[in-house]
Each structure stands twice: as C-alpha cells, then as structure tokens.
Symmetry: C2
C-alpha cells in the first residue's frame, strides 16, 4: 500500500501541514519517507467529534457486528503480509521474527475479544426482580449491566508497534466494549501506524460502521496528544509509554472541566527475588534465564527485570559472576529509536559513574557513529540496604540493564520488598520449602505488583482471561485494570441501571428471556439458560 | 453513651485541641455539646498510617471474619436504640421515622455485603491452566482475582447521617473488600458520627481486628479532609457532597505524587421526562407523584428531581397547575443545617428574580428568626429551548425546588435530553406506545445517567445486587462505579494475577480444589463446584 503521511479522520484524511515528522531507521539514522503531517487543533477536534457522533450507533450494534469488525481488522492486518513487518522493521529495528510473533499476538487478541463479546457475559448483567406487594413501598424491578464509556483516545507505545499500538490491546478492548477510538500514532513508527489504521478504516467501511468509529492522528511533539486528551468528546484515555509522558497526560485528564479516566502504563522495574536455596541449587539455570529476560528485545519490554534481589555470600557471588559472563557475552542489539538509545546510554553511564554501585558488566563505551542505535547489556550491583535508601535507583532504565541488590538474610530481603514502588510484576524463585516459608515476602510483593510470578520470568505476557497487565503506581496510573486479556474490556465500561423498564425496551442482555443466553446474576444467584 | 468530642485513632483517641466545632440544632439554632476537636496534621497522618499497618493483616482475614465484623457493626448500631436516632434528629432535624428507615437500610447494607463476601464470587476469580508442552514456549498457569486497594478515606454526607456516613455504604464496601477505613465526619452531625464510630471501634476490639482497621476524624473547615486525601498511605477516597467539595478533593487526589482513585458523588438534577399522552391521561397522579418526590425529606436527596420536561399545551398546563397547587400546599420543613438552608433560600431567590423564569410556586419570603432552618417548596418554569442555552439552570438546587422545562414536541424534548449534563438518574413517564417510540430519547438519557427509571420516580434507591447509584460527571467524578449495592465492592479492589504459583500458596479463591466454592471463570467458561 502507498503511505500518505496524513491523519485518518473518520472516512476522510487530514490535511498536509508544514509541521511534519518522519520515522528514522535506527540501524542507519536515515529518515524514512513519507513525511507525516501533524494534526492541527481543528483536526483533533474533528476526530473526537466524529467519534462522539459515532458512539450511540456503534455501541448499540449487535455484539456479533462488533465482533465481525474486530475479526475484519485482524484479517486486514494479516493481508498486509510481509509488507507490514518490513515497514515496522525499518522503523523500529525489531527483528522480523519478533515482529511476526507480535503480529500473531495482536490478531489473536482481536479475535479473543471478538469471541468474548459474542459470548457476552462480560457485561455482568444483574437482575433483581420487583415485588409490587412489598410494604411499605413496592419493590421496583432493577437491572444493570456494563455499557461503554464513550470515545477513547489510545496512545501508541514505542516498543510494541503492533500489540500496544494502533490496532493493539487498548483499541481492541475499546472497540469490543462499544467505544469509538481516536488513536495517536507513535512518532517513531508512523508508517507502521498508518498501515494498521488503514486496515481498520477499510474494515469499518466494508462493514458499514458509523463514520468516526476510528480515527488516527499523527503529531510532532506533545501538542497533538495533549489536545486529544483535552477534547471534550473524549471519555477515556489509554497510554503506554514513559512515566513523564503518562503523568503529564494524567494531570491533563484530571484537570479537564470534566475529569476522565486515564489508563497510563508507565514504568516498572519488575523485581525478581532469588531465595537462597534456589540460588545454591540452580545458579546456572537462573543466570541463563535472567540473562535471556534482561536482553530479550534489547531489554525494551515493560516487563524487563530491572532489579534482582540476590543473597550475599558465595552462592550469590557465583550467580552474579555467571550472569555477568552471560550479559558480557550477549551480542549488542539495535534499540528502537535514537531517543531511547540516547536515554539508555545516559542512564548506564550514570550508573557506571555512581560510586555506590559496582559495575559487573557494561558495554564498552558509547557506540561509534555509523553503528546506529546499538546497545549492549549492563549489570550493576548494590547492597539492598543502600538501594532502600536511594529511591532513584528504582527508576526504570529502558534497555538491557539490571541491578543486583545483595541482601543480608530474609529480613533484609523483606525490607527491600517493602521499600519497592508499584510494579507491573514481581517474581520469586525458590524451592518448595523456601516459598512455603516466604508468606511475608509474597504478601509484600502482592501489595506492590499486578502480577506475581513464581519460578519464572516476567517478560512473557499471556493473552487470556486471567492475565493482569497493570499494577500500582508508578507502574500505571490506575491499578484497577489491565491492558491485556479479556479483563481489559472493563476499562471502557460503566454500569448502567434500568428500573421498571418494559421488557421489550431493555437491552437484550437484560430481557427476561435472556435471548443472548449469557450468565447473569438473578436475585443474587448466578445462572445461565 | 457519653460523647467525647475527640477523634478515634485506631484503638486510641485524638487529643483535645483549641480548634473545635459543634453540631447545631437546625430547629433552634442552638449549639449542641460536646465541642469536637479538629484532628491536626499529626493525627491525620497517624490514622492513615495505622490503616496502612492494619491493611495486610485485615485483608488476609478469612471473608467470614470480615463478614462477622460487618454484622457486629450493624448489631452495635442497633443496640444504641433510640439514642442514635435522637442524636441524629437533634443534629439534622430529619424526622424520626425517616431516620429509623435510614438506620434499617444502613444495617441491611452491612449485612448484605457481609453475606456477599461470604458467598465470595465477587472477587471474579479467573483461571487459565498452563500447558508445559505448548510450542514455542510453555504456557504458564495464570490465575487472577480482585484484591483490596488499601486504606480508604470516607467523607460523610450531610443528608444521610447513617447510610452515607461513618458506617454507611462506602465504609461497608471498603471493609467488606478488605480495606481499612479512615472516616471524616461531617461537621453538621459529629455526635451521630461519634456514635457510629464507637460502634465500629467496639466491634473491632471485640473481634480483635488489627488496630487501624478503622479511624474517625473530626475537623473544622476543609484542612483535615484535605490532609487526609493527601496522606501518602491513603489508597482511595469516597465522598458524598457538593460539586465544589467533590471537585476540590478530586483535584487534590490527582495532584498527589501518587494519584489515587476518588469516588465523589456530587450533584444531580435527576431529570424527569413526561411524554404527552401520559401527561394527558395521568395528570393527577403525575402531579401527586412529582410533588411527593420533590418535597420528600425537604428535597434533600441526591436523587431529587430538579428538572421536569413537560410538553407545552393544555394538558401540560394542567399538570403544571396541579403540581404548583400541591407544592404550595406542602408544609414547610426543617432543612439539615444553616448552611444548606441559606444556600437554598439564596438559590430560589435567584431563580425568583430571574426574568427568564416564571414562578409557579414559592415560599413566602425568607423565614423569620426563631423559625430555624425552615424551607418551603418552589416551582419554576422555563422554555426547554431557553434551558438548553443556559447551562447554569442545570445546577442542582439542594432542597424542595424543581424546574419545569416546557417542550415544543418530541424534537425539542430530545434536544433537551442531549443538552443535559451527567446525572445519577433520568426518568421517563409515558404510555406503552410512547415509550416504544422513544428510543432516541432513552438512548440520549442512558448516555447521561447511571440509572434510568420508567414510570417511576428516582428518589428511592434499592440496596441490592443490580443497583447503580452513580453516573457521568458532574453527578460523580467516576462513572465506573456505584456507592450502593453489592457492585460497590469493585470500587476498592484491583485485579491481581498469580502465575505458576504452588497451589497451596494461592489465595483460597484460586486454589484448584476451589475450597471457597465460588463461581470462577475456568479456561473461559464460568463454573461452580
């Protein structure tokens, strides 16, 4: 397909403007055509208002129609074939195999949510029958279910050009729940974004979705995104990116005349706690597993383990040595874009110069020119007690670096856990007996994370019903939800109650005969036809 | 019981301070002893930190223990007998019968939530079994459920001294979900608050709940409450009160270094739409029903109907006349406190002086001294088209006043619905045929309300599973939840995910054998043992 460099506004296109950006090939530094015109204020408003206009018609479509739309988007993305992968590879330097896997995941997510809204029980229908004879007042018939919030602004992530971008999880969840989407492309992969947006646009046209059910905005700098969050028609915001960016949008969302929910996934160091006997018994395997998790995708995962609690002593020293060897031996990789690359080098240079840290592995100097955004792995070490006193060491370094926090016994490890900020994940490796006696540690970690992994690594995120990809601040701005899996639908919905309605006028999900055949809470008991 | 005038801080009491307030008898204007000392900054911090310290132990209690606690609170409130009602009557001028009903409702809510956490399925447990053979990666075992957020700050409402105050719905939901509570008493009924707080304190002591599971703060002015919202240990805020107060706390909650969820229920005019044939056929009944809803509790309900859309023409005129007669004939009542009383008189004086409105009923002049906080009903009238252009007329007047918006046909009525802000409720009266042809109107109202009532009045709020007492801004700051009914538990919970955990270490709700015998989503299908 030919890329246009212009925003998608409903069924139309944005204008060309003087303010333009372009993707950059991280391998070569070359600017990738076409140039993408920034959406101006009027275009942001138009996208939001088209979404608002589409909302009523879209959310009242039968769930099967919305499911068809999601499936058509997935099919459209697949129809691009290698072209989509190639463009993403050019713009992000992510390897083709990884991109292929990410595409599979993106399409699987769209289809999982399609199936889930067809099943339909996600709306959590509840019915309390009335009683006209009740004294002193007749008891009304009361029914409620989840209904969509309204237009959702989706901000794309740098590190997942498919799965957390234009046609990614938040878009899938919003469209599935019945909310139109205005997506804000990430400036680092605009061509990849335009292709995904075109697939959605084509699916919407072909299935005669109301115009405005989807728009895609391009923008240079922060202004376009800020305007989108401030657009009166926008009812919720989803964002995946930096803490600074997420917090800035969260403050904007809260400062609007009408505050709106924002789900910003921001930063996480995904602590891994290694208990003593596990370290003694499985040092090789743990070093191999950790090295793989730290360097996976050049460390550019939200779930990358950035802090590893490791007991002091010989067994721990051995694991540290093994891990350092593996990280030194890991081949350098290309990072996503020059900004991320520069930030990584700056962060590890800062740690290398930090007198309170020991450097166990570090890439040899900044890359020479012509090498593009190349980065190697880094390993630092600190006493856990010192880490507790230095909250700045809990800041995420986006890239293949981790920090060993050496602990003096279980008490010290527990104290470290309790000093942690909120994270997406926390992991513990231990023998069966160790885990059984680690209740306090597990409890402390549960209060600080969205997902708790035992004897595994946090980097893989399954797309299913039980997954929670979220967590306490600063991992996200709203721990009450997930951006991955079927629970994500709840982000974009609110309960609506119908009192004493004629049966025929109720949404199908609440009609007495239960024509949708969904699970419902009937007078306090779950039931199914 | 003897009132102390001091805050409850865990199992201890706050100090006496020079900054004090007291309740005022709305009937006489007299100050009611004792004087209540404002909690200072250190006491607010102490209450929040005690709550934080209690959190882990409290939320890991068996649900049956938390249920026992809720039931003991209800029993303790009932044991006060008439003394609690008498104190509340002194402080609020609410009639004894109304207070008795509110107490019944408060205790029923505590017991409903106790039963609901014993049943246990509210945690929405989900299990996706793993598959070690999956290629290219083994599939992990993933399980998730709702877990409590942490300490909750509960701000008490002026107009419901029991049901939306110290031991009211938010406290019940937070304690049921596993969250400690720091309640902020309303300055207008501190004695009523201290009694409720004492009942909770006694239940907590007797059942050996961790200290800090409950505290109660008194405060003069806004500072104590602001400090509570800013206390680092507080994880969520619930508030029922004015739009100004709710928005101020919402801005504070969002401006914290760690933003936290806030559920502020603020203002609502609960529009009632009367369709033509219903007006023609049931004018007497509608006038009687509306007059009762407007004057119920001297109009001091969040669900009081403040705007009534009424077709222009003879049938509508007749209903307006009948309603005006009833409201003029309604006996004046005592309002909750001098501030609310003054605000009501000021608001209706403003409307009476508004050249764009017609006055159909108004109390004769401000009350003479010695009459206390007496207020009579008021009825104003405006063209719907004019109301659409004047958003200030959508502001809630807290008291027994309503505004008839005269509509010129269905299109005008629909335009009015679409011009409305968010509300807790919206109601429609119509014949069967009228309702069947009112899809656009019902749709417009659904998008602007939390509860939709057909051929009824919004003032009664059932406590059950399906109820939603919430709605789009400015009715609340967060439409994703309800403050009434069993759905309210979700306010104070977040999903937490357990990956590859040993079965014995999982919360009971997620263990394979399902010892809690709850409904769970197993590999995508709901099931029950």
């Amino acid at each position: 397909m030919e890329l246009t460099g212009r925003s998608i506004l409903g069924y139309g296109r944005g204008a060309e403007s003087a303010l333009r950006g372009a993707g950059v090939n991280p391998a070569t530094g070359e600017r990738l055509p076409p140039e993408y015109s920034s959406a101006d204020a009027a275009e942001v408003t138009r996208a939001a208002e088209l979404a608002q206009a589409a909302f009523s018609a879209y959310h009242r479509l039968a769930p099967a129609r919305r499911a068809e739309f999601l499936r058509a988007i997935a099919a459209g993305l697949e129809e691009f074939g290698d072209a989509w992968l190639a463009r993403a590879e050019l713009e992000t330097a992510l390897p083709r195999a990884r991109l292929s896997g990410e595409r599979t995941r993106t399409c699987a997510q769209l289809r999982l949510l399609a199936a889930w809204i067809e099943e339909g029980s996600w709306v959590e229908a509840r019915i309390d029958h009335g009683d006209p004879q009740r004294q002193p007042q007749p008891k009304p018939d009361v029914r409620s279910m989840l209904r969509p919030l309204g237009p959702v602004a989706v901000f794309c992530a740098a590190n997942f050009p498919f799965a957390f971008s234009v046609a990614g999880g938040d878009t899938a969840a919003a469209l599935a729940a019945g909310c139109p989407v205005v997506a804000m492309a990430h400036s680092a992969h605009p061509g990849t974004a335009e292709m995904a947006g075109t697939a959605i646009l084509q699916a919407a046209r072909r299935l005669q979705m109301p115009e405005g059910v989807f728009s895609l905005l391009f923008g240079v700098g922060y202004e376009t995104g800020q305007r989108l969050v401030e657009a009166p028609a926008v009812a919720a915001v989803a964002f995946t990116g930096s803490r600074r960016g997420g917090m800035a949008l969260a403050r904007l969302a809260a400062a609007r005349p009408r505050p709106i929910p924002i789900y910003a996934e921001m930063s996480s160091v995904n602590p891994v706690f290694l208990l003593e006997r596990a370290v003694a018994e499985r040092a090789e395997a743990l070093a191999a597993g950790l090295a793989a998790a730290v360097t996976l995708g050049v460390g550019q995962f939200c779930t990358n383990p950035g802090i590893v609690a490791l007991p002091a002593g010989k067994a721990g020293d051995r694991l540290a040595t093994l891990l350092a060897e593996r990280l030194r031996a890991a081949p350098p990789g290309l990072m996503l874009n020059p900004e991320i690359h520069a930030a990584y080098w700056q962060a590890i240079a800062g740690r290398a110069a930090d007198a309170g840290l020991r450097v166990l592995a570090a890439p040899s100097g900044a890359p020479a020119s012509g090498q593009g955004c190349t980065a190697g792995a880094a390993l630092f070490e600190v006493e856990a007690e010192s880490l507790r006193r230095r909250p700045e060491l809990q800041q995420e370094i986006f890239g293949p670096a981790t920090l060993l926090a050496r602990t003096q016994g279980r008490g010290d490890m527990l104290a470290l856990a309790r000093a942690l900020e909120g994270n997406l994940t926390a992991s513990v490796h231990g023998t069966e007996e160790e885990l059984a006696s680690a209740a306090e540690l597990l409890t402390a970690l549960e209060d600080r994370a969205g997902r708790l992994v035992v004897n595994g690594y946090p980097t893989g995120v399954e797309v299913n019903h039980a997954m929670v990809h979220g967590g306490p601040w600063p991992a996200t701005t709203d721990a009450r939800s997930t951006s991955v899996g079927t629970r994500s639908l709840a982000r974009f919905a609110r309960p609506v109650c119908f009192q004493d309605w004629p049966d025929a006028l109720l949404p199908e999900e609440l009609q007495e005969a239960n024509p949708r055949r969904i699970w419902r809470l009937m007078d306090g008991s779950w039931s199914h036809p």
